[in-house]
Symmetry: C2
Subunit: 423 residues, 2 copies
């Protein structure tokens, strides 16, 4: 029976699970291949510039990870589901720096913070449960959550983060202690995609509301240490130990090693660990050992400072280019840290359909509707990244993008002049 | 608002998803800490003996993975969701060796084969769908699948693997092209936990039945290359390209680097990739780069041979000790490869409750009911592992275990003599 071509398995139809029909592919991931065309300048990624990492630092950490027989017998072997104890201890040190007190037993290591999102969704979400997020929010979170078929409500933001007045209105509709309301997901620092940071008084108000209405807060903080201007903001986790806090090495060290973490009360972690056993048994022991030694043995703060200085220059270049080249109809955020700027165009511009023209012109971005559940909004917005390209390339890319936008606007300006569209 | 101790989040109740209530913890994972007590000899793990890996080989592979600026900019960075292309190409070479022809685009790298099980379950299983497995089967598969709430039917095995007559009976009850029947999961070579290999004629029959009744076959093959005696068996994937094949480096290289793979038609992989984007974005770029160089640059077959020679000695020691020490009421399998032996005791012995006595006596194993969906059978069986301990320790462990069993049997023999229990 070598020829079985007569039966093509009907996976697109009856065999595929209901949840998969709710999932959509990430435009960022899909653009991955397009972005490797050498003439294209990519503003669509979310990649840290790992070229800034000193080779000798990682070499040292790698050597330390496999230095002796005992180290190797651990680094090459299956590890505990919750992660290497020494690395969890390192995480508690990183947390201490930002004002969060945690014990190693309150830390579970995950395969990047992305796995943390999937595991928390798996633990908490039944179909039709209610999840609250910022609108726009991280599209990887939307992907992780939507596999479990929740009803995701996006709460609008302004320059101080999620609007607490609009959150409270939504919560009043949902009702107090509604068993279907599972959690609120927020990225309070230099949010992806908006670049906006949640103001201190809103953080306190959010904690109050979580107690008043009975929901868990998931605080995702991949960018908190990538700060260019302004002072440190107290994490939600430092205000309330019930908060589930997510961190990662991806932006302060390297995303090629998949190490993130969940910091949470044990009654949450025990469920997370159940889910993780089935999901992947354990993370990479080798990656976790290297991460331990990188943060223990190396002056990693120097490299973090290099990331910050470099990204500051690039953000400044992007803001300057936006000011110089973008049309007066466009507005954008001015992030004090992180990797992204959020651009809003007039409502009649569809950034999704415009992407093909941008690719043609040699620049990529992520259309704004990717960051809203079900693509329900953001069609006239886009996320642009400043962490990976040089200031010169960023300036060039923004000029190219401005030309693409300009030619769209020209068309519409004719309609507006004729009174057919509102300004 | 720093003191929030008044609200303990009710995660064990209404907030936790339905699926989590179906999950049980792995006794193997739970024993992880117990097994580190120095006086205990663990037969409960499934760990390859990575102490056999030559340090210089892995050092070379690690150095090659980060040898130059370009290599580092890839190894430290996010990778494609389907995995590093060079590593997927290496996998096609490993597949060629065992008679499976595949292109790199039919390979997706996963975080160990465990993630492959989770992703396939996520893609295919709706609650109450039917999944077929061997009985007993890999408990990590049961954990991965049960998170998606299927109805798992375990098909009994004998010394030639899954009983095709009993499978056919089950399929007749389920009916042809039943949309609820999603897939059959099998480990045809040196199965975990039984050590049994599926006979060639049963492999062909299984393929026929999959077409006749309309279900996908998932072939999990972590142990196929760990063969001590007998000839190579043709994989199901080589008989029928519609089969979804899973492999891993965990037993031929090192499980501390999390690299497994799914080989499948593109229409299956496209759904798997959707699920993987949300689950963890991508695997470890560094691990994948090291794996590439380990299989490209190093005489890895020599080390594989060392694994095989060492495990053969240990299996032989275990079989000899079983023969010498175990009571006549016990039977066990005689695997030609892999890591495990399956022991069956008289029906009145409960290996679950006996585990405490075994721990007391300084030996661990995995109770047999862990390997059946819902613990529906196997209560008088156990899985014992021979890949990690020395022949001397294995002999000692089997003697200890025999004493524990003997003291259980003595009690029951009194009842049997009195006619109160059947022999």
């Amino acid at each position: 029976m070598s020829n079985t071509a007569h039966l093509e398995f009907d996976t697109s139809g009856s065999k595929v699970a209901e949840r998969i029909r709710h999932m959509r592919s990430s435009p960022v991931r899909d653009l991955f291949s397009a972005a490797t065309r050498p003439d294209i300048i990519s503003l669509s990624g979310g990649m840290p510039d790992v070229r800034l990492l000193p080779k000798e630092d990682i070499d040292l950490a790698m050597q330390a990870a496999v230095a002796d027989v005992h180290a190797r017998s651990v680094a090459y072997q299956y590890g505990p589901t919750d992660g290497r104890p020494e690395t969890r201890k390192v995480v508690t040190g990183l947390l201490r720096d930002i004002g969060v007190r945690a014990k190693p037993e309150n830390v579970v290591l995950t395969s990047g913070a992305q796995e943390a999102l999937d595991l928390l969704a798996k633990v908490f979400i039944d179909p039709q449960d209610i999840i609250l997020t910022e609108g726009p929010t991280y599209l990887g979170a939307l992907q992780a959550f939507s596999a479990y078929q929740p009803d995701i409500h996006a709460i609008p933001m302004d320059d101080d983060g999620m609007r607490m007045d609009l959150l409270e209105e939504e919560l009043k509709r949902i009702g107090k202690n509604n068993p279907k309301l599972k959690f609120l997901y927020t990225i309070p620092n230099f949010q992806n995609p908006s670049g906006v940071t949640m103001a201190p008084e809103r953080r306190r108000r959010l904690i109050e509301l979580s107690h008043e209405y009975g929901f868990l807060i998931i605080e995702d903080d991949p960018y908190g240490r990538i700060r260019f201007d302004g002072g440190h903001q107290i994490p939600l986790k430092a205000l309330d130990d019930q908060v589930v806090y997510l961190g990662t090495i991806s932006k302060i060290f390297a995303p090629g090693l998949r190490v993130g973490w969940i910091v949470a009360p044990r009654h949450v972690l025990s469920k997370v660990l159940l889910a993780k056993q089935g999901a992947d048994l354990c993370g990479s022991s080798l990656d976790q050992a290297i991460v331990q030694h990188y943060f223990e043995d190396i002056p990693w703060q120097n490299t973090l400072q290099k990331f910050i200085v470099t990204y500051t220059e690039r953000r400044n270049a992007m803001l300057a280019a936006l000011k110089e080249f973008f049309p007066p109809e466009a507005t954008w955020t001015r992030p004090q840290g992180g990797l992204f700027i959020w651009v809003t165009l007039p409502e009649y511009v569809d950034t999704g359909s415009m992407l093909a023209e941008a690719l043609e012109a040699g620049v990529t971005y992520v259309p704004g509707d990717s960051f809203f559940p079900g693509g329900c909004a953001g069609k006239n917005s886009m996320r642009i990244n400043f962490s990976y390209e040089s200031p010169e390339s960023i300036t060039e890319a923004i000029e190219r993008l401005a030309n693409v936008i300009e030619s769209r606007l020209e068309l519409y300006r004719v309609f507006i002049e004729a009174g057919a569209l509102k300004r």
